[in-house]
Symmetry: C2
Subunit: 328 residues, 2 copies
């Protein structure tokens, strides 16, 4: 990725850059063992999830190394958020190639360190290999949730209200700004790009929703696609009102410029917001969580009998050009 | 890897080939969710480990797909064995490329299915991506061990006896047979190749050693390198008697042909046997475990003050040409 510098050997790399990220986690065994130990309190279940991100597929090869690392971790933390889990640590499998040098890895590890601190989630172990392919990062994240309280994709009931956290579409529009497909003011563009490069896993919201939401997932593939997954798992359909979607100033500016950006907002992905269903009589509880967390939690539609996702605008269903994640 | 056939989409692939491997594991959520749930019994710790294997680096691109899958899983089970843990499941992150077709994946999944059954270790979840790089498989394996009983690399004491399970060197010599570097009888060559292609994670031995061994790891990088890791973690040195090493008929035949094969036996890796230390007064317990498991557990040396690993043959230290894993 970053040219022709030198690179430490695997053991030196781990000791210098990664072992410090395991501080305070005795189960990491100082990253000098083959495995890690996790103690799970009685009454809790362990939640685990894995995601691989590959240069040129899931991120751009010239993205800043610290942001590559942080996003790779955060997409996994977002999966834990969607389960209502509290993160407890992660494993980190890194497949390097000869183009990755020490300078790149130092910036990469600094980014990871920032998020280890921000989210209180220690590195527990990992694997470092080298091959001919593009840089590839596989993170396995661990969280804990009270037994029986994990939020699932299934569980929504007919008549439940469909809601989302934060604002929708910013990640995909941020990528469009980076690719010079979308031209808006620098201030708005910077905000959208930041949302693409550094998603905010909604951990506090996920934990607050455990016990309230009937189903939940994080929006990574695109709102319509992911709500479709929630519907399929719950055996229901969803109707979304397009004008109820919470939009940032940048996203509003984009659709005012050209209504075709709605496709990107509805289908672009990279939101890492939560989409979830709640019983209609719990909307007041939702509003009190939203004000406590200072995070919009917005009703956007309804779960109905049937299957599939319909988006309504101007009184009629929209034709959806994009309904799922497209690799970049 | 296998040419130009068609390939199912990600969701279809998971439903058709991988979801059946999660049978009997409710925490896998049918592989339709973003995460998996694991319940750990009170009094137990979760043990977790991750390893990536890449085509052309850790296995040969023309290795049989079923064996690629099984070995990718088994190298992780071997790490659990070295901790004395009982496996409970695994996550599977697969990075494909356009050369991988359905026929390849069906054979791959059939191999994985065979080991899911053989080791009673369900698939709990995963991630499937596609990129321009070689096939890459990252498996995160989970096991449980009684709290405080996990075997670690650290913990060996001076005067402890160093031991290994099974026979040493067969994996590396099997690879030498596949590469036509080593020419021996077909019967012996087939046995060595099988040891390279399908390692046997020493799970029963690891569990029997929990509470007996003072330190343990699995031999993947090469006997001398891995014993070196155990020594470093324990703050000791090791002296190994070369003629005490348990060898298979194939390995004996190789060193009789040319003593230079000792380098491969001592440093080649891919053994996936356990190397461990026990107090000298527990040798009788070791022998009873060996006969119960019908698996050789052989004393090969001693832990002494100092650092580093010395191999003695013919009354003097051997010069070691290879002391660690070399990618193939």
């Amino acid at each position: 990725m970053s040219g022709a510098g030198t690179r430490r050997g695997e053991f030196e790399l781990i000791a210098a850059l990664f072992a410090p990220l395991s501080k305070g986690a005795p189960g990491a065994l100082g990253l000098t063992d083959d495995a890690a130990l996790i103690d799970v309190a009685p009454g809790c279940s362990l939640v685990t999830t894995v995601d691989t991100v590959i240069a040129g597929v899931h991120f751009r090869s010239d993205d800043p190394p610290d942001l590559i690392a942080r996003k790779a971790l955060r997409v996994n933390l977002s999966d834990l958020a969607a389960k209502g889990a509290k993160p407890v640590g992660f494993l980190h499998a890194l497949a390097l190639n000869d183009g990755i040098d020490d300078a790149f890895l130092e910036r990469y590890a600094a980014g990871l360190a920032a998020d280890v601190t921000e989210f209180g989630v220690p590195l527990l172990g990992g694997d470092t290999t080298s091959g001919p392919g593009p840089l590839s990062i596989t993170i396995t994240a661990f969280g804990v949730v009270e037994k029986g309280k994990a939020l699932l994709r299934s569980g929504a009931r007919r008549g439940d209200v469909l809601c989302v956290s934060g604002t929708i579409g910013d990640g995909a529009l941020g990528l469009a700004c980076l690719n010079h497909d979308l031209e808006i003011s620098t201030v708005l563009s910077d905000e959208l790009v930041a949302r693409y490069e550094l998603p905010q896993p909604r951990l506090a919201a996920g934990r607050a929703l455990a016990g309230l939401a009937t189903a939940c997932l994080d929006v990574s593939d695109g709102l319509v696609a992911d709500v479709g997954h929630l519907c399929a798992a719950s055996g229901l359909a969803a109707v979304i009102g397009r004008y109820t979607l919470p939009l940032s100033a940048g996203a509003r500016s984009a659709v005012e410029q050209d209504a075709r950006w709605w496709d990107e907002i509805l289908g672009g992905g990279d939101d890492y917001e939560l989409a979830f269903s709640i019983p209609p009589d719990r909307l007041a509880d939702l509003q009190s969580i939203a004000s406590r967390l200072k995070l919009p939690l917005t009703p956007i539609g309804t779960l109905t009998p049937g299957q599939g996702v319909t988006v309504i605008a101007d009184g009629k269903p929209c034709a959806l050009e994009r309904t799922g994640y497209r690799h970049r």
